[in-house]
Structure formats: C-alpha cells, structure tokens
Subunit: 408 residues, 2 copies
C-alpha cells in the first residue's frame, strides 16, 4: 500500500470523456490498495478562455484579480473529477488551494509555496477517500487567492507529495516521458528511462516543456521521486530521482530549444562597478526571472550588458529599465524576441571535455551564428536566430549520437 | 455619504459590455461619495453550463461537489467587475464567499447564512475601495464551499447590507420593480412604488420571481430597506420597507403565478394521529421546502394528504416517501407537476372581507377548477391546472381592478 500523488494536466482532463478516463485509472489504483491524491489542472482551453475575458476588459488587469479569475479553472476540474469517481463508487473529496491550505507568498501570478497544511487531506485519505486538489493555486497570508504561474500544477503535485511524504509523484501529461529532444522536431529522439533531478532541472530551464523547473527544484529539495507518464497511452515513462546511473553514462541526455525568451541589451553603459546591479536589481525586485546574463568586456570605458527574460516579461522589463538606463547615461536599450535558446544537458558532461567544441563546431558547419553562450556544470546553452532553432536541435542531436545511445 | 449594497443578477453582468456598464454605474456612486459593496451573480448562462458539465458525468452528483463547481461562476464575475472598475480608475477588491467569510450551515445547495465576518470588507471600504462580493456562496464550519440555492445572490446582498448596517440594499435585475402581476402575462400590470416586507414575502413565496423569499425574510428581520431596480433602464424601482402606506391602501397588491411546484398526494392513509408527521418528517429532514399542505377529512378511517414542493425536489420526495407510505399501509403515492399556484397578496386583505369570494367567483366564471386552497393573513393561494395559469392571473388582475389603482 503506497501513498501516490498523481497530477493530470489540461489535455488529460480536457473533456468529460477524459475526466471519466482519469477516474477509471485512479479507481484501479484505489482497488490495488493505494492511497491516492490527485492534482488537476484546468480543462484545456479554459484558462485561455478566462484570460480572454480579462483582456476584453483591461490590457493590464490587476494580478490579484487575475488569480481570482483563472483559479476557477482548476476548481471546475476538481469538482467534476470528484463526481466522476463518486459515480463509479469511489469516495472522493475535492480541495481548492484555499481549502488545503496551500500557503504561498503574495506574488500574484507567480506565487511560491511556503507551507502546506496537510492534516485535512491526511484525515480524508485515512477514511479511504481519494483527495482531489486544484493545482496551480494557493492562498497568501492576507487570505488572497494566488496562482503559482505557468506549469504550477506540477509544483502543487510535487509539494503535496513532499508534504505527505508520498512514495511517488506521477506527472501525467500528453507525452510519455522525457526525450533526448522534442520528438516533433527530431524524428529519432528517444525516451529516457531515468534521469537525475539535476538534468531534469537543466532540461526544464532549457526549454523542455515536460515539467516546470520549480516543480523539479521542489522534488530535488525534498527528494520526491517523480515519474513522467502519458495519460493517453500506457508505458513506464521516465523516472526522475537523485540517483545517477551507476554504469557508463552518456555525456548528454538531451537537446532542448526554448523559443519563449526575449533579450534585453543595454548598450554603451559606463563600465564601472555596480552597473550590473543597477540594471538587474529593478528586474529582480519585480520578480521577473532572468535567465542568461552576458556582459562584454568594455571598450573606451563603455560596455554592453545583455540578459534574457520570458517574452511575457519583456514589456515590463523595458518599462522598468528605461528610466534606469537614462540615469546611468547609457546609449540605448534594445528588446528583441527573435531568438531561440538551444541547450545540451547531461551529468556526463562533467567528466568529458570537448562538449562545447563539438557543439560549436556542429552549429558552425550549418552556418548557424551564436549570439550568446552560457554554461553550467551540466549544461551548455547558446542563443541563436529563432529561424534556425529546429535545425540546431536536429544537428546537435545527431552530433552527440543521441538516437543510438541506450540509457537503460 | 451613504453605505450602499448593490446586487447585479446574471443578465446584468451577462457580457463584458454589461460588466463595463455596471462598473460605470458603480463609479458614479463612488464619485458621489458613497461607499459601495457590490454583490454579483454568475454571468447569465454560466451556471447552466457548469450544471450541464456535472450532468454529463453523473445524474446525481454529490451536492458538496456541485457547490465547488457552480460557485466558480460568481468567482469569475467578481474578478471581471473588479478589473472593469480598476480600468476606469476606481479601486476595487473582489471577495469570494470563503474570503468574506460568509459562514453558512452545511446544507449544500441550500445553505443558510449563520454569520458574516465583515471586518475585512469594512477595512477595504474605509480605504476607499469598492468591495465586490460573490453572491450565492459561503463557507461551512467544516471549511466546505456552500451555495445558498436559487436566488441566493439576493440573500447575500441583503445579509451583507444587514451585517454592514447599510443605508440601502439595491437589487438590480432585468425588471424595473415589483408589479401587480407579471407584465408578460397581464398587459396593464402596474409597477408598485412601495410595498411592505410582508407583502413582498408573500409575493415571492407565491411565484413572483423578482426576489427570493429568503432574502426578503432577511431584510425584514434586520429591517434593511430594499430597492428593486432595472440595470437596463433608469427609474425609481420599487422600495420594500416595513412601513405600511398611511393612506388608503388597496386590498390587493399583486397577483402571482408559480408554475415550478409539484404536488405529492398520499392516498388512503389510515386516519390516526401522527400521520402528517410521519409523512412530512422525512421531507423536512431532507431540507426539502414544503409549501402548501392539505389534508382532507377522512372517510372510512382513511384520509388523503397532499402537499406541494419545488418540482426539482419531486423525485427525491417520492423516493423518500415510498418506504414510509408502505410502512403506513397507505393505498398509493402520486406525484404530479401539472399545476400552477395562483395567489392574491395584499396587506389590505386583513381588513377587507370578501377577497376569497371575489377570487373564487372570478375563477369559476372562467371555468377554472380549484384543486387546493391555502390562506395566510395577507395571501390567498389556489392551485389549478397549469394550462389555465395565465388566464387565471389576467382574470384576477381585472377582478381586483389592479390596473387602475394608484398606490403612490
């Protein structure tokens, strides 16, 4: 008898038929004796429908009210899934984020979980009930409804699994695991059977859409084993744990492309100490996540600073920096969305030299120009012109022989 | 500077345009210096959309989950209206029933308000913010989401007005006041300028759809003056207070027809003490509201007991009573939805004899057969065959000269 947390995304609960199918899967686990906690997203399309309503009223709706609005999406799903389970004889109770309570900070639209009160959920589980929890949402200390930002339902699932000390957290999605590259781009991309938290973290940060980066961080922090599975077809999925493969490990686990970032360049800044802080401080204060940061060596006492943010955050970043840049006496500030970030990720990278060489060589052979480079211990990322993104992923997948390496 | 609670129903907030129009009206009141609390329903059509989702899953969804589901409807509206006000420069904050908190008992789908914590709302009002509250919903002592049942948003508005000691509670709806009869049925029906709580109570109970009976009870109990207004066109509406008109009062204020009731008849019950209780006890335990009750004089030691319930409650009533009726040795139990309840209401009735005579005579002249009769101090109700409902209303409106009496 295990305690399992399962998360079903928007397409997995996108219709009444799909919700009934999820109920059948959950019922089977209950019959096997497992205690089940189910975290669900809004039915696919619903969140966008709600956002469109808001946009019809205001181009910049207050985030507090956006959270009140969009959190209804998951609330609808929890009620429907509870009904579907009850209909087939499985006791079930729904919980909003408010009801759990999933306590967060007050950053509307991007709140972070600070605590989970799990007593009520545990009590329900002990009476044999399936507990269904609205993903993506929480409640702040001021009693406001908050949302966790994109992919937040994954975070809810992992955080619940951590709070409940669950045996496994299963993320059901529309793909059947983590791949060496996006199978829609690279035909011979392979599903990985296992991957470490660290690798998954870098893959998520690098554009793999399977899981949100924060949920992987959470899982690593609390050592919650995650299994990524398809809710549409059976299969073992990909297990994400803190255990590295004991046997020969391939250098690279996957190639990703992120096309939702934007680049902000501050040109001709006087090159003196504290410049980076003056520019990035206001961005960070506004809770905007900065990904890559590159500063060139200054010529004639002037330097350029470039960083990337999510495309959604570009208008606000430009607005915040315009007065700052003027104050610094910089030449110009330029925003640009025409870029893709291509990354190669793998724990094997640590012990193998030459990964960067292979990567840069392969790209140059296809005539792809590299704009920015950023590296971590187990990842190399470059930004390139957006139109070369798919070509770059296919080129690197081949250059690292990812189609043929068996990771089992 | 007054404290005003306003309630806008589903059609009044049925589209983005309508929500913006409501925001404009509210903004005007704020500019006049009034403190505004706005209670809203779900956008028209939304509640039915949600109910249809539930019905696609289960023919008898658990009420707890139904409340979780349908309460999202109002939550969407509060967020959108708050955004609409913010967009035109009026500070506004939304509150779900949970957040206020509007504490109710645990009768899902038909919960009763037991307490309102109004501190947060008052604090917001004092900072100059408009407070927008989701109607129809509350939270039970077990932390469950509850709903107040049909027309519950009116109850929310009146209860908030009572809790906040508001100067006036305005109910904006799709009609511009309380009429002597349904204007769609009786062409020369007149809008009443004033009416007492008592009359409104009887009119609501008798089928006038303007306000829910519970909200009128609440208003009378806490003496909250209510004004019923149209959100589509300007006008003084109808003021509902506890003050009777000092001048000559017409005998009858209005004629109503209720066509959403059903009749349950238990035939051939042994006529002994406690029979009514045995039959109506289980109905009342199930929180089903019984309207008219008629028991005929017994013949041969057997009697018939007939009562009316809301049509929605008929299947459950029949299910509950089938074993009871068997246990009592009664002959049969019969459910029937083919009836309309026609009522004449007016405080003037108290001092005038002959109302019943006029009523029964007028109906008989049109060949309309009376099934059941029930009377209160200020109301006479009869049930008739449903197909005569409109004819009966027109006939009685004319019989009591309601088209010509000036109540101003």
């Amino acid at each position: 008898m295990a305690l399992i947390v399962e998360k079903y995304g928007g397409t997995s609960v996108g219709s009444i038929e799909r919700i009934n199918a999820v109920a059948d899967v959950v019922a089977q686990s209950v019959r096997n004796g497992d205690k089940m906690v189910i975290v669900v997203s809004a039915m696919s399309g619903e969140t966008n429908r709600l956002i469109d309503l808001a946009k019809a009223i205001s181009s910049r709706p207050m985030q507090r009210e956006m959270d009140v609005l969009v959190s209804t999406g998951e609330q609808v799903t929890i009620a429907l899934l509870a009904m579907a389970l009850q209909e087939i004889g499985v006791p079930a109770r729904s919980y909003t984020g408010f009801q759990v309570a999933i306590q967060t900070d007050s950053t509307h639209g991007k709140a972070r979980i600070v605590n989970i009160e799990s007593e009520h959920v545990l009590a329900d589980l002990n009476t044999g009930s399936v507990v269904i929890i609205a993903g993506f949402q929480g409640v702040s200390s001021e009693n406001n409804i908050t949302t966790l930002g994109r992919g937040g339902s994954d975070t809810t699932a992992v955080a619940m699994a951590a709070a409940l000390q669950a045996d496994e957290c299963r993320i059901f999605t529309d793909v059947d695991g983590v791949y060496t590259a996006d199978p829609r781009v690279v035909e011979d991309a392979r599903r990985l059977d296992r991957i470490t938290f660290e690798e998954m973290l870098e893959l998520s940060g690098a554009g793999a859409k399977v899981m949100q980066i924060r949920s992987v961080e959470f899982a690593r922090k609390y050592n919650v084993p995650i299994r990524v599975l398809s809710s549409f077809r059976k299969g073992p999925g990909t297990l994400i744990t803190n255990e590295e493969q004991p046997m020969e490990k391939p250098m690279i686990s996957g190639i990703t492309s992120a096309e939702d970032e934007a680049k902000v360049t501050v040109r001709g800044v006087p090159d003196r100490p504290g410049i980076a802080y003056s520019i990035l401080g206001p961005i960070s204060d506004a809770e905007i996540i900065v990904d890559m940061i590159v500063q060139n060596i200054g010529i004639d006492g002037l330097t350029d600073l470039t960083f990337t943010v999510h495309q959604e955050d570009l208008p606000k970043s430009m607005e915040l920096l315009t007065p700052v840049v003027e104050g610094l006496g910089a030449e110009a500030i330029v925003g640009d969305t025409n870029l893709a970030k291509i990354s190669a990720v793998g724990v094997g990278m640590r012990s193998h030299a030459g990964i960067a060489t292979t990567m840069f060589h392969a790209l140059s052979e296809k005539g792809i120009n590299i704009q920015m480079i950023s590296t971590s211990e187990i990842k190399i990322s470059v930004t390139i012109d957006k139109e070369y993104a798919e070509l770059a992923v296919r080129t690197l997948h081949k250059a690292f022989n990812l189609e043929s390496i068996d990771t089992d």
